[in-house]
Subunit: 241 residues, 2 copies
């Protein structure tokens, strides 16, 4: 599969709500993102943990009320435009004209599971021509955030990732837009996220979209032994603190 061109002049793309059938692809994407950020040493997400956090009864909240993932898919065939309206989230479609061809040497690894295609064709009530020709190219993971100061919640984007060969095509903005549009639909008034300071490309990208950096803010974390210390504190009773 190595040297052939995957996409030549045009690429069709879709952002849709992730389902349990995407877990295996999500896990690969999350690991790639951890690698990009040099976090593989602490990476311990598993397919089982992704399933639990996103889709299982351990987290009984519907999409958008707790952690939620959108999947970015690409295809050389167009996605059906007249998909029935999804009550939770209507997939977003975009056609991108390529400046240069895209070679995806991991194409087969990221083929969308038949499972999904059959679900989609049920929704659409007709077979999809693109059934076997849809590939996962990225994802965004986000959850609602709340403040005591504001009437409305916001979304916090925790991860956003587009596979390397699909960058510079506007897919990052497409994923981000999907979250921002959904925020507006729900009446939410902000979208927040963190960026590491060395990632100048990302910082320029976000500033160019109209976002601003919150000044003079420090992010704290308590984890590991520091957090475990509070397990015993709870047993102490009395007037220790």
């Amino acid at each position: 599969m190595a040297e052939k061109i995957s996409f030549n002049t045009q690429i069709f793309s879709r952002v849709r709500l992730a389902t349990e059938s995407d877990v295996s692809h999500l896990h690969k994407l999350m690991y790639q993102m951890a690698k990009y950020h040099n976090y593989t040493k602490v990476f311990n997400a598993t397919k089982a943990s992704i399933t639990t956090n996103l889709f299982k009864s351990d987290n009984p909240c519907p999409p958008f009320y707790s952690v939620t993932a959108f999947i970015l898919e690409v295809s050389s065939d167009s996605f059906p435009q007249n998909t029935l309206k999804n009550p939770i989230f209507d997939p977003i479609l975009r056609t991108v004209n390529l400046v240069s061809p895209i070679l995806d040497s991991d194409l087969e690894l990221f083929r969308t599971n038949n499972n999904i295609s059959s679900i989609l064709s049920e929704v659409d009530n007709k077979p999809l021509s693109s059934d076997n020709n849809v590939f996962v190219a990225g994802y965004v993971l986000f959850y609602p955030c709340y403040s005591g100061y504001f009437e409305k919640p916001g979304f916090f984007i925790e991860n956003m990732f587009v596979r390397e060969c699909y960058r510079k095509c506007g897919f990052g903005k497409m994923l981000f837009s999907a979250v921002a549009s959904q925020a507006i639909k729900l009446g939410f008034t902000k979208v927040d996220w963190l960026t590491v300071g060395w990632n100048e490309n990302a910082i320029d990208f976000y500033l160019g979209m109209g976002a601003y950096i919150m000044q003079d803010v420090k992010r704290f974390r308590l984890s590991g032994d520091g957090l475990d210390a509070f397990a015993t504190n709870d047993q102490d009773g009395g007037d220790k603190i």
Copy 2:
């Protein structure tokens, strides 16, 4: 009510899960916190919005799976020690010996609603001696946060506030501990929060508890017109991005 001493040598305190009956007190506390942080100009939380976000079907998630509040209460009478176990969250009790007396000139404003006391006495199955002598002194607002890198979620603490006259008694740590202990109980592996850089007291307090500051991290926000722009983007279709 001005000049009398509210608490002399000892103060009994309790951290419990907030209920809908606390909304009025929560709203006052949130406004006080906004005032402390000079955010009153943007403060637009209302009793209705707090009710919706924390307790209504607009957010169908149970406590700890979405935004959750703990209430800090104080009393000059002891809280019952042998309260029946609460399946969601066992109240945490502490007795604090005071170095100097506390004068709470807003005491009456923050009297716990009878509503709550009667709920508690039902749980306890006997009348509470402290029914009419319990006052709200602070709160913490937090929600679960997720990452694609990690197996387990964490908690993000959005607001933590102790009314001025009750500071320096360890109540901040008590509220924080309640969240940290709950994180451990649920198998969560971190607690995160933000602090403004000018708040040196808070920074010292958190570092002293074993927390660390995440270096080289920028917090972005998209809101207002910048966010609204994405509502129209969504209608564009085609290959604009």
